[in-house]
C-alpha cells in the first residue's frame, strides 16, 4: 500500500512539473524540468511494481542515464553554444498557458474514473497524468517560438506517452522499451545538430525565420 502512496505522490509531482514547464521563462530551467520529469518517470516502474528481475532494472538504469544526464547535457550544450537570448518566447503567454494546462489536467482528473481500466493495480492517477503531460508537450511545441523549446516540447510529449506506457508494461517487452528510448535519444541528438546549423546559418533560433518555403 505504501508503494501506492509513493506512486501517486510522484505522479502529482509530474503534474506540478508540467505546470512549472508551462510557466518557465528561461530555457535552461525548461531543460532541467524536462530532465527531472524524465528521472521521476524512469523510477516509477521500480516504485510501483517493486523488483522485477535484472532486465527491467537494467532498462530503468539506462533510462535514468539517458533522460537524466545524456539528453539534458546535449540540450544544455546546444544552448551554451548559441549566442541568442536565453529567454523562452511564448506565442501564448505564460499565465494563459498554465491556466490551459490546469484546465485540461483538472478535466482529466475528474474523468479519471471513466478513462481508467477497472481494478488496474496502478490505480486511477496514471491516465490523468499521461493526458496532462501529453497536453503540456503539445502546448510547448505549438505555442513557443524557439527551436530548442520545441525540442523540449517533443521530449515532454514523449514523457506523456511513457506515463501511459506504464499501464501496459506487460505488453511492451524490454527490448521494445530500449528501442523507443534509443529513438528518442538519437532524435534529440539529430535535433541538436540541426539546431547548431540553424543557429549558424540564420544567427537565431527563432523558427519564424524558417519561413521561406511556401506556396
Amino acid at each position: 500500500m505504501i508503494s501506492m502512496y509513493i506512486l501517486n505522490a510522484v505522479l502529482v509531482l509530474v503534474i506540478l512539473l508540467n505546470m512549472y514547464a508551462l510557466g518557465a521563462g528561461r530555457m535552461s530551467s525548461l531543460v532541467r524540468t524536462a530532465a527531472m520529469q524524465g528521472v521521476l518517470l524512469a523510477l516509477l516502474p521500480e516504485i510501483a511494481l517493486g523488483s522485477r528481475g535484472l532486465m527491467p532494472f537494467a532498462v530503468t538504469a539506462i533510462t535514468l542515464g539517458v533522460k537524466g544526464m545524456l539528453i539534458p547535457w546535449l540540450l544544455l550544450r546546444a544552448l551554451r553554444n548559441t549566442n541568442v537570448k536565453k529567454e523562452v518566447e511564448p506565442l501564448i503567454g505564460f499565465m494563459p498557458s498554465i491556466l490551459l494546462g490546469a484546465l485540461v489536467t483538472g478535466t482529466a482528473l475528474t474523468l479519471s474514473g471513466i478513462l481508467s481500466a477497472p481494478r488496474h493495480p496502478l490505480g486511477l492517477m496514471v491516465m490523468p497524468t499521461a493526458i496532462s503531460t501529453l497536453f503540456t508537450g503539445f502546448l510547448l511545441l505549438t505555442a513557443r517560438v524557439k527551436a530548442v523549446t520545441q525540442a523540449i516540447g517533443f521530449l515532454i510529449l514523449e514523457n506523456g506517452i511513457y506515463v501511459f506506457g506504464l499501464l501496459l508494461l506487460a505488453a511492451v517487452p524490454a527490448l521494445v522499451e530500449l528501442g523507443i528510448l534509443l529513438d528518442v535519444f538519437v532524435g534529440i541528438f539529430v535535433i541538436s545538430i540541426i539546431l547548431h546549423h540553424i543557429n549558424r546559418t540564420f544567427d537565431s533560433m527563432d523558427t519564424r525565420s524558417l519561413a521561406a518555403l511556401k506556396e
Binding site: V176, I194, A212, L213
Partner: protein, 478 residues
Amino acid sequence: MIYLAAIFVCLVGGAAALVTRSDKSRPLILPVVGAVHFALAINIIWGSPVAPSYGILHIDPPGKIVLLVVSLLFLAISFYAVGYLRYRLSRSNRVLCFCMLMLLGAMTLVICTDHLGVMWIAMEATTLSSAPLVYFNRTRLSLEATWKFLLICSVGIAMALLGSFLIAYSALIRGLTPSMSIPSLIQQAPHLDIVWLRAGFVFLLVGYGTKMGLAPMHTWKPDTYGEAPGMVGAFMSGGLTSCAFLLLIRVQRILAAGGQGPWTRHLLIFMGLLSMLFAAVFMLGQRDIKRLLAYSSVEHMGILALGLGIGGIALIGALLHVINNGLTKGVLFLSAGNIHRAYESKSIPEVSGAIRRLPVSGTLFLLGFIAITGSPPFGPFVSEFMILNGSIARGHYFAAVAFLLLLFIIFLGMGRTVLTAVHGRPSVAARHTPYQDNIWTAAPIVATLLLVLIIGLFIPAPLANVLQQAGTYMGVKP
C-alpha cells in the same frame, strides 16, 4: 534468420560507408548492398515460408508487396547514385551513403515485423535517418525543410506510438492481457473495447498518415522533396510512404477483425479524396517540378487510402498501385534530378526544352508523367482502373465520380508544367552546364520504366500470386 540477414547487410554496408575514405569509391557500396538485399528479398517473398524468429520478426502477405517495391527501387537508385554522386564531389557523400543504407535497413525492419512497438521504433528510425539526407545540399532552404520534416514527422510519429498503446489499452480495459503483436491482436479483436480501439485507429491514422503524407498532414512533403536530392526524393516518395501505408493496412486489418471495418473505411475514403483534392489545388500553376512531384505523391497516397477504404477489388488495386506508384515515382524523381543538375534550377521558366538539352532524361520525365497520370499502357492505369471498378462495384458512386474528376484536373495541372519543362528551347545558360546523360544516371531509370510498362501490359504470374495471397489475408473474396 533471413529477415535478420536482410537488415544486417544494410548495417554492414553502413559501417563500410563510414570507414571508406574516398568519395569516389564509397558510392559503389550502394549497388553491392542493393543487389544482396534484392536477392534476400526475392527469397523472403517467393522462398519457402519461414517460421517467425524471436517472436517478432515475421512478414505478412501485404508486407511482401512493399518489400518488393522497396528493394527494387533501392537497387535502381543505388546504380543511379554512383553516376549522380560523381557530379557532386564538391562535398562529402559519407553521411548520404550511410543514411541511405540505414534508411533501407529501418524500412526492412518496418516490413519484416508483426509487433506494433517494433514497427514504431523502425518507423521513427526512418525519420531520423532521412533527416540528414534532406540536408545534403547544405543550403538555408534545405535546412528549413529538414527542420520542418523532422519536427512534423516526429510529432506525427509520437501520435502513432500513442495510438499503438491505445490499441493495447483497449484489451486491458476489458480485462484481457494487453499485447502489441498483430496476430494476437487480431485474435483478441472481437473482445476489444470499441471506443479505445477507435481512438487508437484515429491516432495511428494521423501518425502514420503524417509519414505517408496524407492531407492535411502533408505540409512537410513539398518542402522536403523540393529540397532533397532527386535520389532521396525517389526513395522517400516510392519506398518510405509505401511502408507507412503498409502500417495502415495492418492496423485496418485489426479493426476489421474487431467488426469496425465499415467505420474505418469511411474515414479512409474521406482522407483519400481530401488528399487528392489538396494535390489537385496545389498542382495547378505549380512551377517547381520537384514540388509538383511532391503533390503528385500526396495525390497517390490519397489513391492508396481510397483503395484501402473501398476494399474488395479496389484493395487489390491499391496493393498493385503501391508497386506502380513506387516505381513510377522513381522514374520521375531520378529524371527530375538529372534535369535539376543540367539546368541548375528546378522551376519553369528556367527549365524548358528538357528533351533537347537532355534527350534521354527529358523523354523519361515525359513518359513518367504519362504513366503516373494513369494513361495506358503503363501500370498505374491498370491499378487505378481496378480502384475505380471496385468503387462502382461496391456502390461508392460518389467516390467513383470524385476520383475520376480529380484525376482529370490533376492530369491538366501536372501536364501544363511538365510540357512547358520538356518542350521548347533550352536557355543559353543551360547549354553550358557540365551535366550530360550517361549510362549510370539513365539506365536505372529506363529499367524502372520498363517494369512499369510490363505491369501495364500483363501481370506476371509470381506477382499475381503474391497479390492474391495479400487479398486473401485482407479478407477479399475472389
